[in-house]
């Protein structure tokens, strides 16, 4: 198709699709008019049945926990896929960035930046752990907290230079954290089977509503997801940084 023909064709098709979607949208219940029976019921029973104050947590990790298991693996698959796609290919080499003047070292980062990074990263670690562990009480949990934890590592990257990051970066630890976190969810599911019940059944006490350790297996699942997400996002950053800073085609920079 020529550019013009494609545009014309697309315009007609998109208009028809827009009409279709319009018809669908017109059939929706009007905004704020009603909550579905499913949502209404879960709002009512989750506090009583699961001792949580954050209903979303109970839905994602308990009532619909198997969905979340697969969603965790979407993340694992995406991270694994990206590290496969960004691996050094046969026509590429790893080459650390170097100053072109051989008699001059790489300048150290400014103390102000360094200090800020130390301060910020410790704050981020704290916030991350808080978010991971309080998923049953307040909005948050493993997915959100894991991203915050990983961003602590990003700040460390900012506060130092790339050679140091390359030398000290715990690649194996990050990968293990990614894998252990994902495996942990499966394992907690299997605990239900080992207890003679079904997969992902709650096998521990529900605790006191409002207490950080409450909601049965939900805090445990949040921990494994937090591990997986923190490791995964840290791997992502390191893969992308590698791709821009270290991996070179054998003939020159990309």
């Amino acid at each position: 198709m020529s550019r013009r023909a494609r545009l014309m064709f697309f315009a007609v098709a998109a208009a028809a699709l827009a009409v279709t979607l319009g018809v669908g949208l017109a059939g929706l219940p009007s905004f704020g008019s009603q909550v579905s029976a499913y949502a209404r019921m879960l709002n009512e029973v989750s506090g009583r049945q699961r001792h949580v104050t954050d209903v979303v947590s109970a839905i994602t990790f308990d009532y619909r926990g198997i969905d979340t298991l697969f969603e965790e693996f979407i993340l694992l698959g995406a991270v694994t896929g990206i590290s496969v796609l960004l691996r050094p290919l046969s026509d590429e080499t790893r080459q650390l960035p170097e100053d072109k003047a051989p008699d001059r070292g790489i300048p150290p980062p400014s103390p102000a930046v360094w200090l800020l990074a130390v301060f910020l990263s410790s704050l981020l670690v704290l916030t991350g752990l808080e978010t991971v562990t309080h998923g049953t009480l307040t909005p948050g949990g493993g997915f959100q907290g894991g991203v915050i934890l990983a961003s602590a590592l990003y700040v460390v990257y900012l506060g130092t230079n790339y050679r140091t990051v390359e030398r000290y970066q715990p690649d194996a630890l990050l990968e293990s954290s990614d894998g252990v976190g994902a495996f942990g969810y499966v394992f907690i599911g299997l605990l239900g089977l080992m207890a003679g019940d079904v997969f992902l059944t709650n096998v521990v006490g529900l605790g006191v509503t409002g207490n950080p350790i409450s909601g049965g297996i939900i805090p445990l699942l949040n921990l494994t997801v937090g591990l997986e997400v923190a490791g995964g996002f840290a791997i992502l950053a390191s893969e992308f940084l590698d791709q821009t800073a270290v991996i070179r085609t054998k003939t020159g920079p990309r």
Binding site: F9, G27, A37, I74, G77, L85, T201
Partner: protein, 618 residues
Amino acid sequence: MGLVSTSVLLPISVAVPLGGAALLAGFSWLLPRRARDLIAIAVALATTALTLSLVAASAGHPMIYWFSGWRPSAGMVIGIDYAAGPLGAGMASLAGVLASAALVYSWRYFDSARGRHHALVLIFLAASVDFCLTGDLFNLFVAFELVAVTAFALTGYNAGHPGPLQGAINFAVTNSLGGMTVLMGVGFLYARTGSLNLAQIGQALAGRHADGLVVVAFALLTGGFLVKAAVVPFHFWLPDAYGSAPTPVCVLFAGVMSELGLFAVIRVWDTVFSGLAGGVGPRMRAVLLGFGILTAVVGAVMALAQTHLKRMLAFVTMSHLGIYLIGAGLLTPLGLAGASLLVIGDGLAKSALFLGVGVVQHQRASVSELKLRGQGRGLAVTGVTIVLGALVLADLPPFVSSAGHALLVDAADEVGLPWMELVIALSVILSSGAVLRAAGRIWLGWGASESSRPDTGTADDPGEENEDDGRPRSGRRERVPLTMVLPPLALLAIGLGLGLTSGIEEHAVAAAAAFSDRTSYAAGVLGTHGSPIPPRGPAVPASPELSAGGVLTDLGQVLAALGVAALALNPRAAGLRRALAAGTGWLRRLHSGLVGDQVTWLVAGLALLAALGEAALH
């Protein structure tokens, strides 16, 4: 106790591949290469065994499993269920068999990715199993996305080259759009029915007349799934993705992924929409058959026009998918049973073909039919594999595809569409003829040499793509490793074994009848009756004389495919070939490989589907 122990199979069938994938992704740095390969193969084989035992365990009555123990209370579904019957479990075990074959074949293949490639294959497998077993619409979407995410990355494995990169990008763009339409469809149905459970949504819609919202939800869900199934006009991404993915990945795509899209269309139709009031079945049959016929014929014609072997097989895959859609789209248990046996038999054969082409590519560093002319010497076993695979695709008895074909033809007769047999025969003859032509050129050196075909190098047929498959190539005439030669033969042997299994047609018909019975499915899931559903007495079709007629038809198809190949290679038929090439030029030009074109067709297809859905459902 018996019931408890078999129901455990359901969660274990996904927990095993997921757990294996997590360990491989997390600890590949710790494991030696051989251990990574062995673990991945062992996990895939274990998943195959688990899903195969599910086929046996769920025959007769569907197995329902409520995760976290949340059974429906007061008629309201709270949790997520698996609702497994032999059809879904059979599809899952096909995924297991093909993943195992792909992993054995890629023994030490993907070394530069450490264990991460294997982890992706196992996640793909787990997602496929979840897709086949789940009884929840949102969970179906999650599985759809997980299959897609792993598939994008696997396609782009050779991303250092422009072809695979472009193929993966086209695939990712179109299939992400497909995923979004599915999600919107889920949202519309949830807004209407307040449920995400297939059975409960179906009950809420049953006996009612479809309004605009339901029609749109149908179009969005079905359209999204048809993108994955690569049905015309949603198919344009398929040759780009299949043509550029590594061989073992093609096996998973051709044998599992497209079929999953179709599986979802039928599962959602049967459980959710089939109960709508107003005799929607026959009109929907016409819609689905239309898409099926178009896909079968376009795929076959395009296959014949290819000289890039992987792209040829991609179009062969597509053509056969159209045939499955014809079978499933008849919306009768007999048609679905025929399509299911074809999915199994053809899936095994297509995978064997891809693996055979992979051997040729590995040994001769080319996938161009023209460049490989006469280069087959020394690869006799692979040549036999490819010819046999092509003949099985033409329904050579007694392979299991032949049984499926017979059922499908009976099913078309049953609803008064005897001419459907001709459409199927035409597609099968052309697409198998294309593969046989390539085999004749490569192994017998027949046909014209390269110069007479000026059309290589167009967007439609990119000619040679020198892929980096991660394998060391020491010398061009090295021995082919047994791990590459045996898997395709094993797949063909399975197809033969199943074809010789007596009573497989009856099993398939019973499974399809259970699959498409909406009311007993809903009753089983929602627990509205106490006892398991009594085994239905399905009308078993295959009478001896019909089978004999079927065998003759199948042999006719096989001979005709050979005839097409011979005609395509005969120097005296050059004029005919030129005329055909000129006549189909417009169709080949439509397959431009431009992602903008592909998205435009997708949008047009969705609008068309909505219009047809309105006509059929309203």
